[in-house]
């Protein structure tokens, strides 16, 4: 494909869809690892230590992930602005609910909410993690008592009710985002057909419920086991 292929409306759709699909795979693996904190703190510690110290994860997958996140958000804003320019004078009376769902029309709102959550999430976990490992130079993953720190840090964070509420709200919006985003991405890359569209819709609905509500359950588990 030439460079100019991606500078078309379909090219933008494809790039948006591919970055979205990549982020959905990331979400799934993040949920699997976080779920370990509920069933086995030891396994969670081991998985977290592996992910946090493995050079392949840290210096290849992590930068790719950060690029994917930034790219998806920048493209989202870019496309939203571009689309707004295509109708500068709106209808006096419009009834969009008659023909389309709220999540499909408001991806920018659910996306901005998820972006705001990511800022909190980075401050909560990612920045302290990077600071400990690459500024303080402590790659051991251990606390003073010789135990792994990962489960302890996660469990402690969810002691605060405002944080838990913020997480729950953000994941509800993530659910709405995925509800449209999952099946939409398969349509954009041309995989969806009349025969498969309903299957993508059903799988997407399951994904959009299971993944965000899985994260909510984990946050609630850690909160409730401390109160």
């Amino acid at each position: 494909m030439s460079k100019s292929t991606f500078y078309t409306s379909i090219g933008y759709k494809i790039l948006m869809a591919l970055s979205g699909l990549f982020l959905m795979v990331f979400l799934l693996q993040h949920l699997v690892i976080n779920s370990l904190s509920v069933v086995s703190p030891e396994s969670f510690n081991e998985a977290s230590h592996f992910m946090g110290t493995n050079p392949l994860v840290q210096f290849l997958l992590q930068p790719v992930l950060i690029f994917g996140v930034v790219f998806h958000f920048i493209m989202g804003f870019f496309l939203d602005l571009r689309n707004r320019k295509s109708r500068t004078f709106n209808y006096a009376y419009n009834k969009p609910s008659a023909n389309s769902s709220w999540p499909s029309r408001n991806m920018i709102i659910s996306g901005i909410t998820v972006l705001a959550f990511l800022a909190i999430h980075f401050i909560d976990f990612w920045i302290p993690e990077i600071s400990t490992k690459y500024i303080a130079g402590d790659m051991s993953g251990l606390m003073n008592d010789g135990e792994f720190r990962y489960y302890h840090e996660l469990h402690e964070k969810f002691n605060a009710l405002p944080r838990v509420i913020a997480y729950v709200i953000a994941f509800v919006f993530l659910s709405l985002h995925l509800l449209h985003g999952f099946q939409s991405s398969f349509q954009s890359v041309g995989v969806s057909t009349n025969k498969t569209r309903s299957s993508f819709y059903k799988i997407g609905t399951i994904f959009a419920i299971v993944v965000p509500f899985g994260f909510i359950t984990i946050a609630l588990f850690h909160f409730l086991t401390q109160h």
Partner: protein, 248 residues
């Protein structure tokens, strides 16, 4: 029945325009929507008021000329019909009906409810055709075997009348449903496959050049399309576009 009409009036493309209120009485439920507007215009002419300009031609739902955004929906509240096929029985006595032109920057207003949809013509001209060899050796189309399913899907795509309801309904003013129907009706048939690559690239480029927005797969176009053109066509066009760019 008695109705209150709120109609967009705009003298020209450069005029600001506004919604004007017109009461209308004794409307028969058997009238078509356009007949109701005809009656209104007769009353306006009698009062020496400029009649409301609106697009219409065949009044049989085939030509794609009528438009109108009625009570927040392209071609009004009914499904699988054009405005000329919409009947007043869909409304109740005492209703207020908002009538606006199809709005998209690629469809500039000419006057009142009339919009310039020639952007669609230019997209068609960029690739929506089959070049016919007139050397005298052209094969009879009926002698070329075509799978029944492909013929049916191509025919369904070809029922697009190019009215622009998809653009009017889309929150992004995207023309993807129209363009994809035109791409599909040819790409599924052997006669159209010869130029399939150039067609999809040229039509997509022209669509972008005309200022239509991006498709975000809300599906509003499919719901509001008077001919029920399927979203499957958009997916097919995306496949064709990717394939054409890989092979070029």
């Amino acid at each position: 029945m008695n109705l209150t009409l709120k109609i967009w009036r705009q003298k020209s493309n450069t005029d600001k325009g506004s919604l004007e209120t017109y009461p209308i009485s004794d409307v028969s439920e058997d009238m078509s929507f356009l007949e109701m507007l005809d009656v209104l215009n007769e009353e306006l002419i009698e009062k020496a008021i400029d009649p409301v300009a609106f697009d219409h031609d065949c009044r049989e739902g085939i030509c794609g000329m009528c438009s109108l955004y009625i009570n927040g929906e392209a071609h009004g509240p009914d499904r699988r019909v054009t405005t000329c096929q919409l009947h007043m029985r869909k409304f109740k006595d005492g209703d207020t009906i908002f009538i606006e032109p199809f709005r998209a920057n690629a469809f500039p207003i000419i006057k009142d409810l009339v919009v310039d949809r020639s952007a669609f013509d230019r997209i068609q001209q960029s690739g929506g055709f089959v070049s016919v060899n007139t050397s005298g050796n052209t094969q009879d189309a009926n002698s070329i075997p075509i799978p029944k399913d492909d013929a049916d899907i191509a025919f369904d795509a070809a029922t697009c009348i190019g009215c622009g309801a998809c653009v009017a309904s889309c929150k992004n003013s995207s023309a993807m449903l129209f363009v994809s129907a035109k791409v599909s009706q040819f790409s599924l048939l052997p006669q159209g496959q010869v130029e399939a690559k150039e067609r999809v690239i040229n039509m997509v480029n022209k669509m972008d050049e005309e200022g239509f927005g991006n498709c975000t797969n809300t599906g509003a176009c499919e719901v509001e399309c008077p001919k029920g053109i399927s979203l499957d066509n958009i997916s097919r066009m995306n496949r064709e576009f990717i394939s054409a760019n890989i092979k070029k």
